[in-house]
Subunit: 315 residues, 2 copies
């Protein structure tokens, strides 16, 4: 009898669900809306209904399902308890128990950024590695740490929160978390725009980014497009970005000494050029025993979550 | 039949060996010299001889020995291979195989700083915790990271090298590792003396540390003794020390979010006062999800290595 597992990526707007073979093949993937009304009480029942309907449609028995993994936007402990998921309206909730009870199938929950790292290890940019760090460079900087093929959850579910590593003293602007000088303030898409604005304000040198600024469409993409076109100011901004992220990764390496750093999120669409900027500064700051780390781009895009969630239940 | 295990702490001068019960009770401990001549070829045979002699003396059969764990001063990978142990004269050596072959008993090797962390988790300052960080503040700063009761070895055996986390930009002095601005340069015994000398040179304010400096016996101990006596300059030095170590620990927390930080090594003899200085600055820099971490003193002293080594083979 064939075996199956489900990977669920629970987001603030949609729930992505994938049906997988244990070898990492996606058999089918689909989405349902995330109904956040009434403190999100419909969310887990909706997911259960969708999974059970898919099983019935395909004639999959409960006995042939290894389990259902789920990535959740909030800190989740090793028992599957989420303590606060602001985006979903949830308070404390034991997802393994609640969703497992609805499905009568084993469920394993973990934080979504950590789950994405597991997905990139299993079938993405870090395939074949046991020790990996994923940095998701989007509106913020998310992170996931994999040690010996397992997610580092941390004692309060805050493992891998590398976006909130203190990296700069004396930063006047506050990070979304309330601290000042977090990595996220320099290495996220919004952080890169901040760096760009500061750089443009600090000199009168010409740059294609000035017109983007005037038209109010200065973005991380605009910066890296300008880098590829050889714009000097843009290259200086990219160096700064690389310095902050390289420094952050060097600190991460002194803790867990990963084999590979994977760059994901919107910013990573800039491509391989990104890895060069980060690696250069990483090598400058890092302990000699951690030199020559590999920097790769994430390859699973928005599917990293469903892959990682499926891998959660495969162990 | 009673079961036993051995814990071996291989140092540059002596080898400490302990005979343990699986419950963590030391039945006996002793030392033999580390014979480093001839590229250290006698070291493992000496250890094997000593362990076998003890078994004969006590009538312990091979079948009743769960295994022999050993902590080694150098990076060791998960297979027990040490790639370079400068202090011992060794090149590449598979300790699990070589010592296991000599003993005909299962052997598990790991880096000594990591093993000490495991020991403090098992029976010391971190007893009862699954996620722990040990910082050994001695001549340098050693570190060991425990996640889910297991050592984080890292891809090249450099996991837990927190002493070489880059913490200060623009440091003119070089660290022993060749980099500039490593945590070790501010939080080790020698680092504290460096901070003290700079502080004393930067002002004319009176301090009991000035006479210590003149008599050439300025030490980390002298600094913390002066702190306890209320010396203002000494308190400022302690604040600086706490700021650097707190900042380093906050970065560690953003990666692995431990439950407890344990302070060991010679500097930790200053006592509980140390934890206060570090915790204060840690809380300032750390991500809110990692706040309220516990700071404790190591309790096993020089025995942390034999405890952790024994725990290695107990899994």
């Amino acid at each position: 009898m064939s075996k199956y597992c489900f990977g669920v990526d629970l987001g603030g707007t949609t729930v992505k669900i994938g049906l997988f073979s244990p070898e990492g093949e996606v058999i089918e993937k689909w989405e349902i809306p995330t109904r956040k009304e009434n403190d999100g009480t419909n969310i887990l029942p909706d997911i259960a209904k969708s999974v059970l309907a898919k099983m019935e449609e395909r004639g999959i028995t409960k006995e042939s399902v290894i389990g259902v993994g789920i990535g959740v936007p909030g800190p989740v402990d090793d028992a599957g308890v989420v303590y606060r998921a602001v985006n979903l309206g949830w308070g404390v909730m034991n997802i393994n128990e609640v969703l497992g009870g609805l499905l009568d199938i084993p469920v394993k929950a973990a934080n979504d950024a950590n789950v994405a790292a597991l997905g990139e290890m299993w079938c993405g940019g870090g395939k074949g590695c046991k020790d990996l760090v994923l940095a998701t460079l989007g509106t913020g900087v998310g992170g996931g740490i994999i040690v010996n093929e397992k997610i580092v959850t941390g004692s309060k579910g805050a493992g891998g929160e590398i976006g909130h590593m203190h990296i700069v003293d004396g930063e006047p602007d506050a990070c979304g978390c309330g601290n000042h000088g977090c990595l996220e303030q320099y290495a996220s898409a919004t952080g890169i725009v901040r760096l760009a604005k500061r750089k443009l304000a600090s000199s009168n040198e010409g740059s294609v980014l000035r017109s983007a600024l005037e038209k109010d469409n200065l973005s991380a993409k605009a910066v890296f497009d300008a880098v590829k076109a050889g714009d000097k100011i843009a290259c200086e901004i990219a160096e700064e970005f690389g310095m902050y992220l390289g420094k952050g990764f060097a600190a991460v390496a002194a803790v867990v000494n990963p084999e590979v750093f994977v760059l994901g999120g919107g910013v990573s669409k800039a491509g391989e050029i990104l890895c060069g900027y980060v690696a250069k500064h990483y090598e400058k700051y890092v302990f000699h025993g951690c030199k020559n780390a590999v920097f790769k781009l994430a390859t699973l895009g928005n599917d990293a979550g469903i892959y990682g969630a499926a891998k959660l239940v495969l162990g």
